[in-house]
Point group: D2
Chain length 296, copies 4
């Protein structure tokens, strides 16, 4: 299966909520998607971690998926995060995303109990077999509590037809080395750890999955282009310039900090859902200063 | 607020599912509760980790809560696990449990994103203020991804009216020491890590929250009674006898191993929900042998 | 080989250094040993971690070993720490200790490079075969960088003649459970983690290896006696009373805090060797207050 | 102080021991140094971790230091590892190295007890003030047990005159980012973690401290040259080619694997000192196959 349509900067929109009643704000989501498309992103990834998909109920999830795919309108490829605690609902979401016209789905093995390798494998297999579009394996032990080894990931890609690529968010560059070694360089991998962006490209990552374009769209694109052109001095410079913002959003939690950043950019995406709280005043001031320094 | 009604062995029933269609099996749940009451448990705790509450939808959750409280019928105190990803739904569940007649609710700060201490505090505060019954703080970093310090826990107990007790499942005995030190011995704490049962009682735990009574009901009770009577040699003997089973259920995952054990006890509670898989044949054989040795 | 001569409180004297020139102060060491013997210790263990053996040169080490064994003069059993980076020098020290009349030697697998299990095994084997007295395996990953599994420890005890007992300082009570399970309760184990003293006795530890008697001799003895008599309420009370001091000496480093404590007890043992620094004034004030509270 | 004389590939010779009696083999050491100089290394670093300095006695250490500096004979800059457990002996070694004509000394804060930041700072200060040549801070928590934060390292470089550069062996690329950020890119840093070589250069490392040139001298040099010329595709190719060897020597321990590799290269450097054991037959066969593949 061809899957090279995803490369470069894969942007993760937040899911805006209305200030008034906390409900999903679809018009704001559509405006945000337009901004991401307009500012140079190479793909759009709704309902990821940044999109607070874990905090949406099923009806909300469906509406966000539908609005996102429709709004991108094939201007860019779309990969929809369909993770759910039960295999049954993950399958339902995957089918729904495919029907909407998504180009791929992204799957994190969220769980309450630790899963065995066999359980993870079967979870991916059930989802993949239910659809005809590619599945992106998403490894993020910090949020999912499950750490998939490169060996397991490559085995799934080898043995399950439409599992074809992997987003590595563990932040461990050695994982990327292992993916290259185990697949002889044939498995496309994407970096999901913002402060690893420079080195992941050096190690051969095809793309960078990031929420940073919500607030500083030109910078991730500039890093990608410098790497693509082989200008490492420029790549290094561009990376260290944006690194403080990347560190800030990672440390403060993506929905919390990105929504605060959007407000500083005069875009109202509301605040994250409780128990998450809005970014407090001192941290917001710090973010403002980081953004101003980057804009200067 | 008085909260000394919980002490001794607090038993966690699994949530049985029907073999035929995977739906919740309420009659089996009622029979299981009767068994736990009859075999010496000192309290019943439905919808904990063992009860697969994370894998139930809201309607199922409500029906299990209702059936559980009604079936215990005040023969023993009941603490209902009401954890949910969003504060809003956790509050809804807490109110529902109170209305059913639960004696307390247990709250794990499950989350997708790491929560700050302030977010955890506010989550507990919102829940506690919505109800009039005691709240048991549940610390289990292995499943929730959030590790509450003894300092935070004691601060919540001191500052939020009906947050009154804590179940510690981190397996770290030093946490229990800190709880004693920070509260001058006044905060009742319960051990939730099976292989720490002996030492937790030595350190002053008021009770042991455990799923083991589903399959070996007399053994936890025997440990508690030996500790209560100060017979440490007997406590040690009773503990080491049951330790292999405790280690087995912890390592294999509670719903998976306890449901397999129930089947070995001729009680059909079905299998855990996908992505969880039933215990495989070799492991089941091992569990059978452990149970036989204990029964001998 | 009989090895039950070690039980109860095994006391670790510091190695006093002269204020004037930083040299080993043997007369002070002898006075300290007399105090430990007089105040109820059940065995003496010179040249352990507390004794700063790692910071002594070979000549100093020999003189401390000789003075210690001679001064105890068979009033109590003596176990000498003979750890060294090279197997050759560890063997030399073990032979020297045996010749002096030590009752046993204690061996920590200190190393610079991580050792394989085979390397650890051979290290112990070489030492044990060079002497005729018992070897106590000492597991302390925090200082040695090597964590020996209970399986490896029990294998060495089963296969190497005079390796007969183990001091567990990892602070992990589950290790003690494993030792009991793997040896069917036949391997004598000693707790080396001060804040685990209560629970280690509950789990079946034969003794407690500790530097606390240097400054609060009666308290460890009182805990041991309460546990021996099966009075768990008393044991708990005695443990929580001394716990703040135990936590303090663990956190601040044993030579540093114990030497400061000895000074507060009007015993001049000098200060630890550089790069270790003497306890600073605020921490010393805190220790003074903890000791006063315990003496009250 | 100027310190830019160190850049590129800084090679760490092993310390050869004679097969016959295990004594230091200085003629072999001199031949090895000649090979390293001849095959393109940019600096020589005797008595590092690879040089088994921890297992040498003082007399041996002095002779290896002297022979190394004399043999390099100013063909390349030399940095001598002078780490020791006590500050006193580290100072002695630093002075000795300076007198021999070393261009710099490298200091790892080896310790038995964890050191406070103040103790680490003073240790470096005492050493630096005793000499007039630059000090390279060496952070390697895996062998030293002490993890110096980038903040502490940069503070020492700012406040202690001739502490001027840092070798980071933690393998954590984020540490390098922090060093750049804290020093505004002015602190020269060297990578000491072999499998991080590609990304460390991408992040701005000035050099790579490595034992790999003992057995595959042209490959590290080729990586450095590709990075220097900005040819990332070539750098990536060269890196992934040598990565299996780098992973092998890291995992198996440097003295053990490099000495086995030297034998495969028909260079007799003996075996590492006990408790370290020679590489066993299956692992040696694996290394042979890795080297053959690289030579092909």
């Amino acid at each position: 299966m061809e899957n090279n349509q995803f490369k470069g900067i894969i942007s993760y929109p937040v899911t805006p909520f209305r200030e008034s009643d906390g409900q999903v704000d679809l018009p704001a989501l559509e405006r945000l998607i337009d901004r991401l498309v307009a500012s140079g992103s190479h793909a759009i990834a709704p309902l990821g971690s940044t999109g607070e998909s874990a905090y949406l109920d099923d009806d909300e999830w469906d509406r966000v998926a539908e609005a996102s795919v429709r709004r991108v309108a094939r201007r860019l490829p779309v990969v929809v995060g369909i993770s759910d605690l039960t295999t049954r609902n993950a399958v339902r979401r995957a089918r729904f995303a495919e029907k909407l016209g998504a180009d791929a789905v992204m799957v994190l093995p969220v769980s309450y109990w630790k899963l065995t390798e066999q359980e993870v494998f079967r979870h991916y297999e059930c989802i993949a077999q239910a659809i005809g579009i590619p599945v992106m394996v998403y490894n993020n032990p910090a949020t999912s509590g499950i750490d998939m080894s490169p060996e397991l990931i490559c085995r799934m890609i080898a043995q399950i037809d439409n599992v074809t690529m992997v987003k590595e968010s563990s932040g461990d560059i050695q994982r990327m080395h292992r993916l290259v070694q185990l697949s002889d360089g044939r498995v496309p991998f994407y970096n999901g750890s913002n402060p690893l962006a420079l080195e992941a490209f050096a190690a051969g990552a095809v793309g960078w999955c990031t929420a940073a374009p919500n607030i500083v769209p030109q910078w991730p694109v500039a890093l990608y282009e410098a790497c693509l052109s082989g200008d490492m001095a420029r790549a290094r410079e561009v990376f260290y310039r944006q690194l403080p913002v990347l560190q800030f959003v990672l440390k403060g939690g993506l929905p919390t900090t990105v929504k605060a950043g959007l407000r500083l950019r005069d875009f109202d995406a509301g605040v994250p859902r409780s128990p998450l709280m809005p970014l407090d005043e001192p941290a917001t001031a710090q973010l403002r200063s980081l953004l101003e320094r980057l804009d200067a």
